[in-house]
Symmetry: C2
Subunit: 362 residues, 2 copies
């Protein structure tokens, strides 16, 4: 099946309609091989569950999408708490409203974000494992909890600040700059820290977008010779490389490190659908340049949640961080929304409005 | 030429004799290709130079050997201040005595260590670039300045403490454990920090040696299956991998990282003589485990010199750090001493006594 036919098949799934009389779900029909395909997803419906003592009923409004979800579907995610079988509801975090509560700590009407799964209702004991947080009542759109002020935002913040140790004037390179994490990293690096950011993205529209969102210059990986452009735009080398793609781009940046440089390994989307892992030939450049390559796992930074969300909300209010979410309309579009990440179709944080915007809160 | 013939040719060079009436030198005859060969070295003799105002005359007693010297000979070392041509004296640090001084800050009779080059005398302005340090008068053998209390020791200390952030109880793996840096790292990690160290070395003698110098268990890379032994000796994985060899061993350790692990890239001797660089297939394990891979360059840690040498001298006095230097006797043996590193023949820090021990100080 070619890309156009595949997208048409995703569009057909997106036409599925839901109502509020049942709980609709997307489940794993098949383990993805390579990119996700329409046949990997099964649409299901169950009764809306009833909360027992100590539980709440949550109604999903927005769901966030992240590349890791393909790993959940493959049962290869190494998060320690996820192992899904065929027929299971796909994992995913989202923004929901408590529509019934029999839990002493959570009230009806509260808007929260947490592990909802790809479904329109959920009964929950609100355990620590589901990592629910109340959405702050700070005038910002609750939809942001599905991305910019959610796990994507925490990834961007922890990757840049806790792992990248950015400094004013750092000669920075950022791949995946138009993506969810990338579009936040570029703005925080440029507007909060004062880094000089060269961003890499695919196509002229995305390049124009990233130049308006923190990047001083852009490289179009679909059209440009990345190495030649790095030589031109970063003639003095790289202090900080924030890596969202892995592979040859990582190798090209390793080759151009300045002394005491930092590489943050945030994602490797170029590698997720490779048959064989990419082999890095020049990791010893870390030695020659006294540099650090650091991987990170966002769930280890949850204890910083309140501080990070407070900082980022402030930067949004100040105009330093423009929140950019790419919102699919309707629960049926969830499979396509995930596929968008691999087709490179999203700009900003990919998420989905379950009933189509405007979402109606109780 | 086979290894036995090559060693015989190095032995023939080692028979060269020197006296105190001239300045003898080892120079670059040819750029090494692969391992160093006897024909890469040229033995030369010049007059002993006369110091002018602001200079001292230094007499070399001990010279240290390090793998980086092959890069000096290839003019590919990236230290920023070294680029040697054919016919130039090979770079190397050593312990020397000031036999004449016309410099206001340095007195005749003082014992120092610094950049001597492979020669028996040197006139110096004692510039910062040569990085001369006075040997402390603390009762320890001045020969230690050519290794254990020299740049090798600083590498071991900076690599372990400043880069590796070792913690008591860390499940550690150390490659090149019988080498100069390795034999110091193992002892400091085990006896100062309280790490549990599994060492990797070549052959039963070296394995016995490392078990007496800080390693709780040993892996013989010449006889054992490294991956199977790591599974057996490190079933819970690795908190800290101190890498002196690179290549497949690094890959095997990356595969077994625990969460928040640290890899220190100190050396990659397995790669120095490879035709093609080793390609690392599993660097993304850093992401899955929230881990750090850090390279370091010892000259960036020079500002810690006094503190580090003081600490290490104290540990030697306490018996926590047994100094192990493998001393070739006689200036003629310098090429063989360098080759020893690549043949894996040295145990501890390789160095050379210029006139044969006991060296006579003025």
């Amino acid at each position: 099946m070619g890309a156009a036919e595949e997208l048409a098949a995703f569009d057909a799934l997106a036409a599925k309609r839901i109502d509020d009389d049942a709980n609709y779900q997307w489940r794993i029909a098949r383990r993805p091989v390579g990119n996700v395909r329409p046949e990997d997803f099964e649409f299901g419906v169950t009764e809306i569950p009833e909360p027992r003592e100590g539980e709440v009923l949550l109604k999903t409004h927005y769901l966030g999408l992240a590349p890791v979800m393909r790993f959940y579907m493959q049962a290869t995610a190494r998060t320690g708490d996820v192992s899904l079988g065929i027929g299971d509801v796909i994992h995913g975090r989202g923004v929901a409203q408590i529509v019934k509560s029999r839990h002493p700590d959570w009230r009806e009407g509260e808007i929260v974000q947490g592990q909802m799964g790809w479904q329109t209702y959920k009964v929950s004991k609100m355990t620590a494992q589901e990592k629910f947080f109340r959405m702050p009542n700070n005038g910002l759109d609750a939809a942001l909890g599905a991305g910019v002020l959610g796990m994507t935002g925490l990834s961007a913040h922890a990757g840049l600040f806790a792992c990248g140790s950015p400094k004013e004037g750092d000669r920075m390179v950022l791949s995946g700059a138009a993506g969810g994490v990338g579009s936040m990293v570029s703005q925080m690096a440029a507007n909060v820290v004062g880094c000089d950011v060269v961003g890499i993205a695919g196509g002229p529209e995305k390049c124009a977008f990233i130049r308006e969102h923190g990047c001083r210059a852009s490289i179009d990986y679909k059209a440009d010779d990345i190495e030649a452009m790095l030589d031109q735009l970063r003639p003095e080398g790289i202090d900080l490389y924030f890596d969202n793609v892995g592979g040859e781009t990582l190798e090209a940046c390793l080759e151009r490190l300045r002394m005491h440089a930092r590489i943050v390994l945030c994602g490797s989307i170029s590698e997720y659908t490779r048959e064989e892992p990419f082999k890095l030939s020049n990791y010893t450049r870390l030695r020659a340049t006294d540099s650090v390559m650091r991987g990170f796992f966002v769930y280890n930074h949850l204890s910083d949640w309140d501080r990070v969300m407070g900082e980022m909300s402030g930067w949004i209010a100040d105009g330093k961080l423009k929140p950019v979410q790419d919102i699919e309309q309707g629960f049926g579009a969830m499979p396509r929304a995930l596929a968008n990440l691999y087709y490179g179709r999203n700009v900003g944080v990919q998420c989905c409005s379950v009933r189509g915007e405007p979402e109606e809160w109780v």
